[in-house]
Amino acid sequence: MLVLTRKVHQSIVIGDDVEVVILEVRGEQVRLGIRAPRDVAVHRKEIYQQIQEENRSSANVDPSDIPDAHLP
């Protein structure tokens, strides 16, 4: 893994068209700004992984477990 040290308002450039800017550092939290073309999807990793897991899990449902329509 490439490791770089940056200060607030400095940035890194990935390839020709992705830029990641350090916006703010406060305690354990870092705010990043990301400039990327629209076809580059940017996600928080844990959200991305959990949605991937849910997608797989929804493909393993046994049809006999599906409830009848149930309006609350």
């Binding site: 629209r38 076809d39 999807a41 996600h43 928080r44 959200i47 991305y48 992984q49 959990q50 949605i51 991937q52 897991e53 849910e54 997608n55 797989r56 899990s57 929804s58 493909a59 449902v61 046994d62 049809p63 477990d65 599906i66 409830p67 009848d68 329509a69 149930h70 309006l71 609350p72």
Partner: protein
Amino acid sequence: MTLSTRFGMVEYNEEDILTFPQGLLGLPALKRFLILEHKPGSPFRWLQSLDEPSMSLLVCDPWAYVADYDPQLRPTDETDLALTDSEARMILATASIPPGKPEGMTLNLLGPLVINLSKRIGKQIALDGGTYTIRHRVFQRSRPAVAA
């Protein structure tokens, strides 16, 4: 055309195909789908992959269980889907059910599937903000928990 699925052979036409140009989140190779009925009148459907016929995702009309669901699309999502106010759109949530425990069903309200029905294109989006969760339990009378 016919496709062999986990439910048996399915007949379909070219115009039935839905295309997700970016694939599903975490499953980028799954780009082309059919929507299959579960039972007439049911809010559940199967999002049947054409690229990997063994993959049939259970999806649900989220409003059947969460009447006040209000996903806010970003302008870029609407552009990707060529959605204008007049285009017919459909929003579905994937549903997971632990084996033998329908009462444990959850809907992914954070990562809905948005479909432009007239152009037959779709996109799975991850919503901003902390309003909705990835595993929203439908059979309990609490509000959606706040996501981290």
